[in-house]
Amino acid sequence: MRKEIISEKEGIALALLFIINGSLILPTGTAARKDIWISVVFAIILSILATMIYSKILCMFPGKNFFDISEILFGKFIGKIVILLYIWFAFHLASLVFADYVHFISTVSFPGMQGYIIVLFPAILCIWGLKIGIEGLGRFSTMVLTPLIVLIIIVIYLMIPKMNLDNFLPIFENGMPPILHGTFSLFSFPFAETIVFLGIFDCFKESKSISRVYFISITLGGILILLFKSAEIAVLGIDSYTQYYFPAYTAVSVISIAHFIQRIEIIIGLVFSVGGLIKISVCMLTVCKGVQKIFSFDDYRFLVTPLTILNVAFAFITSSSITLLASFTAFAWRYYAFPFQVMLPLIMLALSLLKKNAEKRLSAK
């Protein structure tokens, strides 16, 4: 099969849309309260360090993805267990985004609409995108990224008249521990979720591109999240911010310029929909490639439809109510994701370094 290649620009667009999707809409890092902006800054720094580890792992094995590297480092049997764990993480993440889709639309856009109708359209688009492959997803992301960023910046600009900067004061009201909790929360969602790209980032011409793609997307995504979260808190205040399931939607709905420019919260829905589509597609692409590796198939495309339907079913089972989804995302996700986002990459990096050193010593002899 022909190997798919994407450019750095397409990789950045994919990763950026992946990062800004849910974190702009959902209330993340709420433990930090008014100091959430400090948590975002800390989370960006931590995430850059984490993605340096991710890209180092891929750069040490040029042209290989996470699944190939797992088998090289852990051997056939344990490698397959590691691949299964990683597939589980990506699969669960995709199901959470599907659930976000259902709850977002059935809560704010079309209240009372049946979940299976809502999920039908993103699922079909996701299957279509995955059948085309990462090249198609990359081109689509590049095409939509600029208009979406411009829209987000316009929305932030229009929120300025409604902002009250007193909502940030006093700074460090509860000391460092809540800020660190917020940082941990923001690190695990959305920044370190980019670990799922390890399964598909074997698609660059040069392996050096991976670190650049990670760095630029984390920095740009982080700045957008920082600006948007700060704007939300400045408009709503922290108490209202933590009360809503989708505070961004509420914050944007207060925009009214001369009673003419108003009701523009649809932009938030647009960012969420497009970003969500990319996030689901990236996660499902990782899942499909993982299953392909486990069973040694020559192509993953025939797996796309059944795995996506299975994912939709899983989303309905695990996130049947918005309360359950919100509490899982707010309290449990960071601890649940930590082994996948930090421990596993660290073990892999240590093993890679040991292997490379052993190879060097052998060749020196």
């Binding site: 299976y116 299975l310 089972i317 695990t318 309290f331």
Partner: protein, 72 residues
């Protein structure tokens, strides 16, 4: 009932459009993997639509995490 018929129709259409190539390939491993994933997915979807309660593994995970680390 109409929801269930709707979903069954979608599954039949999916197999016709998507699965036919897999079955034509006569690769038994591909057919086995495709069929098992597809039938699991279809069964779960039908159970959900019939409002049959399926145990949620993530509730247990969440309870364990919250009882261990607290609601921070």
């Amino acid at each position: 009932m109409d929801r269930i018929l709707f979903i069954i129709l979608i599954f039949m259409l999916t197999v016709y459009v998507d699965g036919i190539d897999v079955f034509k390939s006569k690769d038994s491993k591909k057919i086995a993997v495709y069929s098992s994933i597809f039938f699991t997915a279809a069964t779960l979807c039908l159970l959900i639509l019939m409002d049959i309660k399926i145990p949620n593994p993530m509730e247990a995970v969440q309870t364990f995490i919250i009882s261990t680390f607290g609601r921070n």
